[in-house]
């Protein structure tokens, strides 16, 4: 069954799109990742224009982040003040990202931007995950606990001006680092179609030194805020958000996420983490292949 996407201006098999939403939703429920970094390249492989894929994936991220954020909110594990400060930075980051997006798209370089930013990102994430799961599996086989990474003390961050009290995080720090983190991650969101949780979470733990119990909830609120701002800006400036595509992805995503969360409670995660790492590396390899191998037709057609 084909369905026409009014903004992407193409007909797609809606079952395939629903399947992608379900699959990525399942992984995000299982591992607590947003999944934008997998969904955007999958949509591009299917033939959705890169710009539409990047701009529409954020709706899927907003939906899956919402159910997570509600669960965290019930546990009072959200620092709204911190999320607000990061979102303020995010507002400017999104503006910059959407502006860059428009320039790259007009120049016909959106495919290149997606490939060039995703290959190193997926390569690094996939590599780290692969390394960690192999180490954990080996440690489990030997019967000892995996080594923990301890936060580094960043004295210079605590010497910055404009300090504010973040009661929920029990921190009294400068607002500059959260503003900068919010700005950078939101810029990446707009250009790459990712939530950026995998950068936000370590940055909040290791750079801001927030207590781990509020990190997940706060990052989810920040991701939702950025997804809302980015979607509105992409729709207003670049006409790149496809509401039909978003609806199918979101339906698949929220259902998949529930199954993923349940499966995660029962399954032992390490073998699955290894599989996810291999999947991420495979997507990176496929994108790299597209950059290096001579295309079958060097000419392509745009516009109409």
């Amino acid at each position: 069954m084909e369905i026409y996407l009014p903004i992407a201006d193409m007909s797609v098999q809606w079952m395939v799109i629903l399947g992608m939403g379900l699959g990525v939703g399942f992984l995000s429920g299982l591992f607590g990742v947003g999944g934008g970094f997998l969904l955007t390249p999958l949509l591009v492989f299917y033939g959705i224009p890169s710009g539409v894929a990047v701009a529409t994936t954020l709706s899927h991220i907003a939906a899956s982040s919402m159910s997570g954020a509600i669960a965290q909110w019930k546990k009072h594990a959200i620092d709204f003040k911190m999320a607000g400060v990061m979102m303020l930075g995010g507002l400017f980051g999104t503006g910059a990202g959407v502006w860059l997006f428009a320039i790259m798209r007009r120049a016909g370089q959106m495919d290149l931007v997606v490939s060039l930013t995703y290959v190193p990102m997926l390569g690094i994430i996939g590599g780290i995950m692969l390394d960690e799961s192999i180490k954990t599996l080996r440690a489990q086989a030997r019967g000892n606990a995996p080594a923990r990474i301890y936060p580094v003390n960043h004295v210079w961050i605590h010497g910055l001006p404009f300090k504010a009290r973040f009661r929920q995080s029990r921190l009294y720090i400068s607002v500059i680092p959260p503003l900068v983190i919010g700005f950078l991650v939101a810029g990446m969101s707009a250009i790459m179609g990712i939530g950026g949780g995998f950068i936000l979470v370590p940055a909040m733990i290791y750079l801001l030194r927030m207590p781990t119990n509020v990190v997940i909830g706060t990052s989810l609120v920040q991701i939702i805020g950025v997804a809302v701002i980015t979607t509105v800006l992409q729709a207003t400036n670049n006409y790149a958000v496809d509401i039909v595509l978003a609806a199918i992805l979101v339906i698949g995503g929220v259902i998949g996420a529930q199954f993923g969360a349940r499966a995660g409670a029962k399954l032992r995660g390490e073998q699955l983490r290894l599989l996810l790492a291999l999947l991420v590396l495979a997507v990176a390899a496929r994108l790299l292949w597209g950059l290096l191998v001579p295309p079958s037709d060097v000419y392509s057609l745009a516009g109409m």
């Binding site: 084909e2 026409y4 009014p6 903004i7 201006d9 193409m10 007909s11 954020l58 709706s59 899927h60 907003a62 939906a63 899956s64 982040s65 919402m66 159910s67 509600i70 669960a71 120049a107 016909g108 370089q109 495919d111 290149l112 939702i224 997804a227 809302v228 979607t231 509105v232 800006l233 992409q234 729709a235 207003t236 400036n237 006409y239 958000v241 509401i243 039909v244 978003a246 979101v250 339906i251 259902i255 996420a257 529930q258 969360a261 349940r262 409670a265 597209g290 950059l291 290096l292 191998v293 001579p294 295309p295 037709d297 060097v298 000419y299 392509s300 057609l301 745009a302 516009g303 109409m304």
Partner: protein, 251 residues
């Protein structure tokens, strides 16, 4: 534009008693809906009057049916290898090319008339040229690439033998209208050839419109981008929220 003037002159100048075309289209409005997977229209007509056999107008009669879509601005990009990777490196903007072009004829085009005559009436995919070009180099390879891509997408096609004579005077041609055609005014042009010259021609408009939900969504997205974006993301958030109400976690 020049093509239309020529067509108009021809229609005005045709002598009354000479052979003349009368043609029609099975549908003058096509509505594209979400489950539209393409359809066919039929162009039919008759050749009326007598062959006057004068001024070199000998030979068999040929009918050519051309359907042109609204003009489009095309950007053709060429990938080149830069620092080891393939990137879009060069581009040409071709404006005023039809977004859709279908041709059916009684015989292969070279048998009907020489290329310059065909080109004058915009007959044949190879005769299609942009009105204006923005390119740093010779745009011909880019034009050829555009013709190739549009042919692959079934937006440009030529069917020699696609016009069939049902009797000595009645003819008919099937015109496929694939999914993914542009909205707007299409022109159905029918040419009657006798001895390599056009002796009669007729042009009929045909409208293709998108209807239903997708049209309204497209308009919504382009006219009220802010509200549209907000609606999309709020829908997503609402679904996330509803799902967490529906499937309460066992934990």
């Amino acid at each position: 534009m020049r093509r239309f003037l020529l067509l108009a002159c021809l229609m005005a100048a045709a002598p009354v008693q000479a052979e003349e075309l009368v043609s029609g289209v099975s549908q003058d409005l096509i509505q594209i809906t979400s489950n539209y997977t393409g359809s066919d229209i039929v162009v039919f007509g008759a050749v009326e009057g007598q062959n006057q056999n004068q001024g070199g107008n000998h030979g068999p009669k040929d009918v050519v049916v051309v359907v042109r879509g609204p003009d489009a601005d095309l950007t053709v990009r060429r990938r080149d290898r830069v620092a080891g990777i393939w990137i879009n490196h060069d581009a040409a903007d071709l404006s005023g090319m039809p977004s859709y072009y279908f041709l059916a004829s009684t015989r292969p085009l070279p048998a009907i008339a020489p290329a310059p005559i065909l080109a004058r009436y915009g007959i044949g995919v190879q005769s299609l040229r942009p009105d204006t070009v923005h390119s740093h180099h010779d745009y011909e390879p880019f034009r050829q690439a555009a013709l190739r891509h549009l042919s692959q997408d079934h937006l440009y096609s030529e069917v020699p033998g696609g016009v069939e004579f049902l009797s000595d005077t009645l003819f008919r041609a099937h015109v496929p209208v694939p999914a993914g055609v542009m909205r707007g005014q299409y022109n159905v042009e029918v040419f009657l050839f006798r001895g390599s010259a056009v002796i009669s021609a007729q042009s009929t408009p045909l409208f293709i419109d998108q209807t239903g939900l997708e049209r309204r969504l497209y308009n919504f997205a382009h006219n009220q981008g802010f509200d549209y974006g907000l609606a999309t993301v709020l829908m997503a958030i609402a679904m996330g929220w509803i799902s967490s109400l529906l499937f309460r976690r066992p934990v």
